[in-house]
Symmetry: C2
Subunit: 371 residues, 2 copies
DNA sequence: CGGATTTGTTTATTGGTTGAATTATTTGAG
DNA sequence: CTCAAATAATTCAACCAATAAACAAATCCG
């Protein structure tokens, strides 16, 4: 019953239709004309024209010069997302490196910088956020030289993050209750920029939404030291009631099996963690298959993406996982589960972070236009 | 990116705001006035008045006669859902009984009829749908005598159902590819009524949404011969990509355990099915706890409701399930999982079926008004 | 009884979409 | 070369729904 309890006024109509037009252009492989958008969306040509005018004026769309001519009639002016429109700053902080990139509205990575952390710096030292901010300043300056305007920044962190961007706990960084938006927002390089923070597995999952296939619903499993999963339902990340969803690493695979550091026995992590994959790929694949079967039986998800440490050894794992899926997924015969490696490698989380910024602009262009 | 790709026009604004007003009245325990709705929703008093006029004219709201007076000023006219408004017909077909009920707009069960199937009738005999239709005719006639108008009917079936209402397979009924809406719609009692079909566990889960606590996110587990689950996320049933979510009965609990009729080994169903619960409650509880831990780890769900055959023996199962949850849920210490028995008993699926009809009217009153 | 107060309605205005007419730009036929 | 046909895009009057402000209704209180 939590169905958008906000009143709707005419301006909401315009906001919705602006987003509809922008989304229509973004989702097409070609460069649709106003008339094409009209038939695709059901809006009148007059309305589409007015909306497109706003989007062009706001720098979100561009009219392409050489109109692809076909048949009789006035040639159509193709429309496309503007490569000079608002861009997103993606940041990542991890155990041994910092990274930053700028992704433009079309989804292209325009600038990218990665820096290994100096070994002398303590992991938990929050001055690393200052280093990160300086790194971000570099790519931001390069983007600015291109004429790009940054719409915001998102940081990927290996840990539990509250909706407000507070890092509740990040074991591998030694962080606890760190107010990242406040700290980063106080640096000169990022002052004034809207900053959000999210879990790296979540962001990596979202990066697959753009870079991978076109499925709007899939499970992204990232194998690192621990195993995390991002559940993408209908184009949106499912975060759970408290934001702690996706803990597939602690799904029980063998109830009386190996003890896990979490206190339970037989967790997936003990059979398909990074080390175990290297030591015994067959066991890892089987354990993964059992856990994934549970997910598919529960959520009826048709696509599973393997990322992180799983991606490079995908071919070794595939057969073993699929064997279990065929056996254990009730509806396997009606339609098989598609298994594929992640499209992006180590950059996935950072890319997903930058993508969330531009996705926000694309999903709510009215907010950007009236900023 | 599948964010409502339909254009929005002025009439959509009205449709949304009609639903907003109706929902506001429905969710309040008291009988709010137009002015109160105005402040609750953010709409102007004038707008609320216009919308309420439409809703009263359409028979969805009623103005209460004795205005509860308080303080100075013109007394407010209280508004409430109309008990004479559109009602929902809930149907259920199961192995050994048929059932039908009528629920009015306020959620009250107005009429109810249950009939045991005559032992001589073959289970798979589709003439049982005719018997069901006659039973439905009885409660529908009683409702009609009350002045109620039926807005639609929903049938609860123990099996996999497509969005179009085709029962793909219902093992316990011996059904396969049965076009229920067509068959029921052809009977004189139900002719002309919009008929939908859904899985019984899904519908039972939805009935908990109204009858149970106020949590908008929970897992409903129904133990019968098979075990099904309804996943309610944020007030809406999560159906999965193909509508086959919730197959918790075939989640693997013991990878090398008892063979299951589905072809796999160690499915939950083999340890916590109706018979097993009776034979060995401790084993059933432990197996359930293992499977539920997986769900909670994956989805970060805070509430689990036990229904069907589990509800009567809830006290016997509780401790065993909670022990596993405490051990195996990663975030158990941060906030424990709440376990409770279903609020409704055997009627849950049928009630949920009727509820979905009235919920549909309440969520989209404009469609009802302009019918 | 009359002012204060709150509820609900009326009226003019505004914002946004629609549909029809109009203008713009091309191809192709005579 | 010119004109008709075709397609794209814009202009403009009409309409619909929400808003704000004024107004009417119904009560309380001094």
């Amino acid at each position: 019953m939590t169905a958008s309890s906000a009143p709707v006024r005419q301006s909401s109509v315009r906001a919705h239709n602006l987003a509809l037009v922008l989304r229509t252009v973004a989702n097409r492989a070609d460069q649709p004309s106003r008339a094409a958008i009209s038939t695709l969306t059901g809006l009148t040509r007059a309305t589409v024209s007015a909306l497109v005018d706003d989007l062009i004026a706001g720098g979100l769309l561009v009219e392409l010069d050489p109109p692809p001519r076909t048949g009789a009639g006035r040639p159509a002016a193709g429309l496309a997302l503007s490569p000079d429109g608002p861009a997103g700053l993606g940041l990542e902080i991890n155990v041994d490196y910092l990274a930053a990139c700028v992704v433009d509205l079309t989804g292209t990575v325009r600038h990218r910088a990665v820096r290994a952390t100096h070994p002398s710096v303590a992991l938990s030292d929050l001055s690393r956020l200052g280093d990160l901010s300086r790194l971000a300043g570099e790519v931001a300056a390069a983007a600015s030289a291109d004429g790009l305007t940054l719409a915001g920044a998102t940081l990927a962190v290996p840990g539990l993050v509250t909706p407000a961007g507070i890092v509740r706990v990040a074991p591998n960084l030694g962080w606890q209750d760190v107010d990242v938006p406040a700290l980063l927002g106080a640096t000169p390089e990022l002052a004034g920029l809207p900053i959000s923070v999210d879990n790296e597995a979540n962001l990596a999952a979202l990066s697959e939404l753009r870079a991978g296939g076109d499925e709007p619903t899939f499970l992204y499993v990232s194998g690192e030291i621990g195993i995390g999963a991002g559940i993408v339902l209908d184009g949106a990340l499912y975060r759970g009631v408290r934001g702690w969803s996706g803990e597939i690493g602690h799904v029980t695979v063998y109830p009386d099996g190996r003890p896990c550091r979490c206190g339970a026995d037989g967790c997936l992590e003990q059979y398909a963690g990074q080390e175990q994959v290297a030591a015994d790929p067959a066991l890892a694949a089987s354990a993964l298959g059992i856990a994934l079967s549970a997910v598919v039986n529960l959520l009826d998800i048709g696509v599973v993406v393997l990322g992180g440490a799983y991606a490079p050894v995908f071919d070794q794992l595939r057969e073993g996982i699929e064997t279990e899926l065929r056996r254990r997924v009730l509806t396997a015969e009606l339609s098989p589960v598609l298994l594929r490696p992640a499209a992006l490698g180590a950059d996935a989380a950072m890319r997903g972070a930058a993508d969330t910024v531009v996705r926000e602009v694309r999903e709510n262009p009215a907010a950007w236009l009236s900023r």
